[in-house]
């Protein structure tokens, strides 16, 4: 542990109000916290709890037109940042106190090179000349383990991946060795493996620079891994503050307790098997005759270009994916961004052009969709990742949920109305909200509306694409419960698409791990989580932060780790992995080199 020292940043009783149509509304009430040199304070809490706005206020970056600090102090080096004139603030920001933002994709100036953006900090704060600034910038990029650092200086942000950009952001914030670094959800937008790299990097650098780190996050796993102390906030109120171990071990406040209870924990299900949600008698039949059989599903997108606007490149989004889904079963597709999960789901609903063979109840869906599209759609439905975006904002939710019935001409107007009310109750919403519009609901409620919509047609299969990823843990837990409940009652089968291993462990019967458009490992939940065979599966699991401060992993993944691109030339011949039988229903790819050799043979 670090030595206890004088707090470098001391935030006292800060209250913030935002301007709304109805007047000022307080969103932060008397926040008080501090951070010491070399220490990590995690501020945890769910969406909208005031985490970001407080740190922005500390930096003097609140949008003046919409938010004001009504009370409080933020003392840095004996000076109150909240009272500081703008000129002086300019000097302090970036120099004594720095900040990293949530969105690496948009936080760098797209029209300036990385080098320009780094150097200007040194020029301005340290009066360095161009050459010195350049040298220092390079040094810093190397310090954040940026590959090919020298080349990066000349590149523009869009030429870098999200992880690389976040490295640049970190490098930029540390250039002047600030006393305090505020990192606002710096890893939320990143894949787990990249997130793991980022977290260990920050830890290492913090140690090196002896910086006071304020890490804002909603992920208790990250908190457990990173924090020395934790501040839990909720709806603009401070809930609880304390040492990380005591917070996790003995939370005193009910809110904190809920938060920790709802948290899906990787490994929590180990040693248990999940039964199919169908009557015992049908299980054997279900195993024998899967509901959905996918064989060699391939989806490719052409990229148009050149003089003649012909395809010049091809995205190999999904390559020869095969799997079965049984009645009452949840099959999860996991993998990192861009590996083809959503595309697979969309192909199942015939929303993209695909090749291969998909059998639904023994019939090819190609025929099904061609002959009677509506009938096919009644069997398989989808819940989309972003509930808000997938609901027409100009229709009342009652109409939205009733719409599938109208499209499929089911029942009379009155019957439909009753059914919609039923569905509402079924997903835990009140039927008297039927006339409201999507924007009047919370994220979790919206997801329930989407579920109700999918249920309206009584499908056998629901493809749930990242259905809970955007939700806070407490809400997420409720929605997951709902899905499980529905499965048990109605014998639904789910294709559950997610990148969150902990959630996947909680809900699935079987799991398929996708990498670069192919399934590299597929098997029962127990097999995948307790006995992973493929390196990639192992890496995925290892990267997941564990919400237990007692288990502090030492990570080794520091550089590299970027996911290769699925875009190839037209004549590219994909190398298919060979799935090797491991145990009863557990298959995993032999290593890539091995299969490449197999191909050439």
């Amino acid at each position: 542990m670090q030595q206890k020292s004088q707090p470098i940043l001391d935030v006292q009783n800060v209250s913030i109000s935002v301007k709304t149509d109805e007047g000022l509304k307080q969103v932060v009430n008397q926040f008080t916290y501090h951070v010491n040199a070399g220490e990590t304070l995690c501020i945890a809490g769910e969406s909208g709890s005031g985490k970001s706005i407080t740190s922005l206020a500390t930096m003097g970056l609140l949008p003046k037109s919409s938010a004001i600090v009504t009370a409080g102090k933020a003392i840095l080096d004996g000076e109150d940042l909240l009272q500081m004139p703008e000129k002086r603030l300019e000097h302090v920001r970036g120099n004594d106190i720095a900040m990293i933002f949530q969105e690496p994709m948009t936080s760098l100036n797209p029209v300036m090179t990385i080098g320009d953006q780094l150097r200007e900090v040194l020029r301005f704060h340290k009066d360095m000349d161009g050459r010195a600034a350049n040298a220092r910038s390079l040094e810093m990029l190397e310090a954040v383990r940026m590959s090919e650092a020298k080349k990066r200086l000349e590149q523009y942000p869009h030429e870098l991946s999200g992880g690389m950009r976040q490295r640049v952001m970190i490098a930029m914030s540390l250039l002047c060795s600030p006393k305090v670094l505020i990192a606002d959800e710096p890893t939320t937008a990143l894949d787990v493996t990249i997130q793991a790299q980022m977290l260990s990097l920050m830890k290492e650098l913090q140690r090196e620079f002896n910086t006071g780190l304020i890490l804002i996050t909603h992920d208790m796993g990250v908190v457990a891994e990173m924090a020395d102390r934790v501040l839990v906030v909720n709806r603009g109120e401070m809930v609880e503050e304390g040492e990380v171990n005591s917070i996790f071990a003995t939370p005193t406040q009910p809110y904190t307790q809920d938060l920790l209870a709802d948290l899906p924990k990787l490994g929590a299900m180990s040693g248990t098997t999940k039964e199919l949600a169908v009557p015992e008698a049908d299980r054997q039949a279900a195993k024998a005759q899967p509901l959905l059989q996918v064989k060699d599903l391939t989806v490719r997108f052409d990229i148009i270009g050149g003089v003649l606007r012909r395809p010049v490149k091809r995205v190999h989004a999904v390559e020869k994916v095969s799997f079965d889904l049984r009645a009452g079963e949840t099959l999860s597709l996991v993998g990192e961004s861009g590996c083809g999960k959503s595309t697979t789901g969309r192909a199942l609903l015939n929303l993209v052009k695909w090749q291969g063979d998909i059998q639904l109840g023994g019939r090819s869906t190609r025929d099904l969709f061609a002959q009677d599209e509506l009938a096919a759609r009644r069997q398989i439905q989808m819940i989309f990742q972003d509930p808000y975006a997938s609901l027409n904002p100009r229709m009342s939710v009652g109409d939205l949920v009733g719409e599938p019935l109208v499209i499929h001409q089911i029942g009379t107007a009155q019957e439909r109305k009753d059914r919609v009310a039923d569905l509402f109750k079924r997903v835990g919403l009140s039927p008297d909200q039927l006339d409201r519009y999507p924007h009047e609901f919370s994220g979790g409620q919206r997801q329930r509306i989407c579920i109700a919509r999918a249920l309206a047609l009584n499908p056998q299969i629901i493809v749930a694409d990242e259905s809970v990823s955007a939700l806070d843990v407490t809400v997420q837990a409720q929605v997951l419960d709902l899905l499980q409940e529905l499965q048990e009652e109605m014998g639904l089968s789910y294709i559950f698409i997610s990148h969150d291993m902990a959630v996947v462990e909680q809900v699935s019967h079987r799991v398929a791990v996708m990498y670069m458009g192919q399934i590299v490992e597929i098997g029962s939940r127990e097999a995948i989580f307790e006995n992973p065979a493929h390196d990639y599966t192992k890496a995925l699991l290892e990267a997941v932060p564990i919400p237990d401060p007692q288990i502090k992993r030492e990570r080794t993944l520091l550089t590299g780790g970027e996911i290769p691109s699925p875009v190839h030339g037209l004549d590219y011949q994909p190398q298919y992995v060979d799935l090797k039988h491991i145990t009863a229903e557990h298959f995993a790819a032999v290593s890539a080199t091995a299969s490449a050799q197999a191909n050439t043979r």
Binding site: H91, G94, L108, N109, P110, V111, Y156, G305, G306, V307
Partner: protein, 306 residues
């Protein structure tokens, strides 16, 4: 990049072909007999018939168009019916004046528009901002002939600061360029303002401020280049507005450009000139857009030419 330019040029050529075809049809339908116009009022029927035959006006439509196209590909725009000169020459002689006027107008609108837009954005929601925005609204609402006549009346007739018309010196170009540029100034300043305000809310501006960059540097180094993109695209579109604008402005100020040529030709239904000017204008519009698209990646490296 090369593939892109080539494709765009091919597209441009096709568009020009289409423009020539449509214009040719339209002019073919205009109820006026070119042969009689050339022949004049004292001509005998014989003379008219001769002329008609020599110009191929008695050929079927498609053959006339084909002839025109073949000549066009050899750089021959035909001869003006009434001006009796090569249309190519007439246009070539007047094009520099129009280009000069357009360049002056572009400079006017860019300088004024960007300046006003930036000031308004920085002074957002102040009376100054409001005043400037009203001004730019008036700019986009004022027909060019009214602006032209007004400027002429105030600055040339009453104050006598500038010549009333004509061509030659810097003083001559001020009023026409202003007139042609007023509309664009209005657009640019409004666009610049909203674009800059929009950019100022972007994450990377917050980053720049978090780095401690001074306000002016944030505005001019970080925000402005990002805010400039819509302006670039607009300059391309502007060429189209100019091509309409010069018809009015050149005739108000007696500016010897192709707008004036077009207007004279339209009044007298001098078809080869109308064809020629339309094609040249279309060419300018297409190239203007192409250039704007080619410049865009320099302003914003994210843009890939596809």
């Amino acid at each position: 990049m090369y593939a892109y330019v080539i494709r765009r040029l091919v597209e441009a050529a096709l568009i020009l072909l289409g423009v020539s075809f449509i214009t040719f049809i339209l002019l073919y339908l205009v109820p006026a007999d070119p042969a009689r116009q050339i022949a004049g009022r004292s001509a005998t029927a014989q003379t008219v018939e001769n002329i008609r035959e020599q110009l191929g006006l008695n050929l079927p439509f498609y053959e006339q168009y084909w002839r025109y196209l073949v000549n066009l590909l050899q750089g021959d725009f035909g001869r003006s019916y009434l001006q009796k000169s090569e249309v190519g020459e007439l246009i070539a002689a007047r094009l520099p004046a129009s280009l000069l006027l357009m360049v002056a107008a572009i400079c006017t609108e860019l300088v004024m528009g960007v300046m006003i837009g930036v000031i308004a954005a920085i002074k957002r929601d102040t009376p100054l901002d409001k005043g400037l925005m009203v001004f730019s609204f008036v700019g986009v609402s004022a027909p060019q002939f009214v602006v032209g006549i007004l400027l002429l009346y105030v600055f040339a007739v009453q104050l006598q600061w500038f010549p009333i018309g004509g061509y030659g010196t810097f003083a001559h170009i001020v009023l026409p360029a202003l007139t042609l540029g007023v509309l664009g100034t209005g657009w640019y300043s409004r666009m610049m303002r909203s674009s800059l305000i929009d950019v100022m809310t972007q994450d990377y501006i917050r980053t720049a401020r978090a780095k401690g960059m001074p306000r002016m540097r944030v505005i001019f180094r970080h925000a402005l280049p990002n805010a400039f993109l819509p302006i670039i695209a607009m300059i391309g579109i502007d060429i189209g507005f100019f091509m309409s604008g010069i018809v009015v402005v050149e005739s108000v100020f007696g500016w010897p450009g192709i707008g004036q040529l077009a207007w004279q030709a339209i009044q007298r239904v001098d078809i080869p000139i109308i064809m020629g000017v339309t094609l040249v204008s279309a060419c300018a519009i297409v190239l203007g857009n192409l250039v704007a698209d080619l410049v865009a990646p320099f302003v914003d490296p994210r843009i890939k030419l596809k």
